[in-house]
């Protein structure tokens, strides 16, 4: 970790008319750090994530990102071409529903290779080799490289989506409920995989989840949101073991113990 933040959010607010999406959210994200945003549904987690990932325009506030040349850049002032380039090279976005993040009608290999072709890779053999390599890393058999994601199970699709995002070696990955809709054993394997990849690649990640177990496993720090506001913010272990706010205490105590 270095002493300069990778992403700096200041007073992010998003209003849907009079309704609050999220309000006055500020934080810094450091290189190699995983930040979890937790809260119940409707608390503004996904709105905040979409604002950070420039998929939504915040009503007010600034988001700055440190590009590879070391400059802190205001995302709202970046041109669209540059922002989209950033999104498909330096960033990744993992959707809750893999169908939103994948091209369902092209093969797994092409799904992984798309970003490479988008940045100018024009050698079929190399693209295929890299794609195969990434499929192996996310534990998808090489014999499935020419199958369409339609033929994949939910867990495989999610892993494919992760591979597709990581192929350009991004520095920051946004994940929106990456384990939502998967059964528990598949969730566990996926979490294991993500944790391994984040560690090996030194990724920074912002993970939105309503599942505190996911936050506990993956994240270093977490923010608890309620009604669009961040009500508690701290190291994951501290927040989960010693919740201060009444709402966080409620959240932690409502985890089912088996």
């Amino acid at each position: 970790m270095t002493d300069a933040p990778l992403l700096r959010a200041r007073d992010i607010s998003k209003f849907y008319g009079a309704r609050i999406g999220c309000q006055n959210v500020s934080f810094d994200l450091w290189p190699g750090e995983v930040l979890a945003i937790v809260g119940e549904s409707g608390s503004g987690k996904t709105t905040l994530l979409n604002c950070l990932a420039t998929r939504l325009m915040p009503t007010s506030g600034t988001i700055e990102y440190r590009t590879r040349d070391g400059q802190m850049r205001d995302l709202a002032r970046m041109g669209e071409a540059e922002r989209r380039f950033l999104m498909r090279t330096d960033w990744g976005f993992v959707h809750q529903n893999p169908a939103d993040g994948l091209r369902m009608t092209v093969s797994a290999g092409a799904n992984v290779g798309e970003r490479l072709m988008a940045v100018g890779e024009r050698h079929y053999g190399n693209i295929r080799e890299t794609a195969g390599d990434w499929l192996r890393r996310v534990e998808i058999g090489i014999d499935r490289i020419d199958d369409q994601p339609r033929a994949f199970s939910g867990g495989m699709r999610q892993r494919l989506q992760i591979a597709r995002n990581l192929v350009t070696a991004p520095r920051l990955v946004f994940m929106d409920e990456p384990t939502g809709g998967l059964d528990v054993s598949v969730q566990a394997r996926l979490l294991d995989l993500v944790r391994g990849l984040v560690h090996d690649l030194g990724l920074s990640a912002i993970i939105v989840t309503h599942d505190l177990a996911v936050a506990r496993l993956l994240s270093h720090r977490m923010m608890v949101m309620k009604d669009g506001h961040v009500i508690e913010h701290g190291l994951t272990d501290r927040v989960l073991d010693d919740p201060r706010e009444a709402y966080t205490q409620l959240l932690v105590s409502s985890i089912l113990q088996v």
Binding site: E80, A81, R84, R103, T105, V106, S107, G109, A110, G113, E114, R115, M117, A118, V119, R122, H123, Y124, G125, I127, R128, I145, D146
Partner: protein, 297 residues
Amino acid sequence: MTTAASELATYNFAYLDEQTKRMIRRAILKAIAIPGYQVPFASREMPMPYGWGTGGVQVTAAILGPEDVLKVIDQGADDTTNAVSIRAFFQKVADVAVTTKTREATIIQTRHRIPEERLTTGQTLVYQVPIPEPLRFLEPRETETRKMHALEEYGLMHVKLYEDIARNGHIATTYAYPVKVEGRYVMDPSPTPKFDNPKMHMSEALQLFGAGREKRIYAVPPFTEVVSLDFEDHPFEVQSFDKPCALCGAENVYLDEVVLDDRGGRMFVCSDTDHCEDRRDHGHCGTMLAYNKGAAQ
């Protein structure tokens, strides 16, 4: 004759009214100024169904003058229904001279082929285009494809070619093969066989593309770079044929397969009928020419 002329007067010259022609000409000028860029235009209803060349007909009507000589081809042939009716249409509403000879034509409206004979300065080739958007089958959203063109994000085009190789071992796209125009816009050359793609490169003739249903016009001005997309290890190549044309013996031309009987008999002949006839007039003879003469007698 006078009654015929007065009946004709109910139509403006070349069917479209002058305001419409101005609108189309503006779109054409813009298209020429930005090679490969799809210019939206207010496509009109034409007296023929969509898919029959309403885009091409509107472009032709807008650029046609009384001095022009018009040739219309459909899949390379001058004598198919589509070509005959469009030719007859312009004879009726514009009273222009028509020809089947590529060399003599000043405007050639085409569906799915570029003539074999090299086009020269002063000639204009008008293509009928069904789906102008090369990215359409991978990205159904028009807002997104426009953005991709604007930001020059063409990675997706190679995803299509990648899929081809992954499935078939080679680039199996044989028509509507995507090209990059002047190093900027990726363009669909309309459903011409990829055999014709190299003819678009640095062509002396002006090439105009009209898509009536999709309401788009685009253009390749003369002497413009047109490069077919490919991979370094799977370079672009055109179709090749085992045999020459069965009628005129021409090689390195695009051939159509013609089924002769129900016992597997077939022949391969030039798809460009004018080119084939011209060669036969000059004494070239294919293997099945005699057979055909015998059949006629």
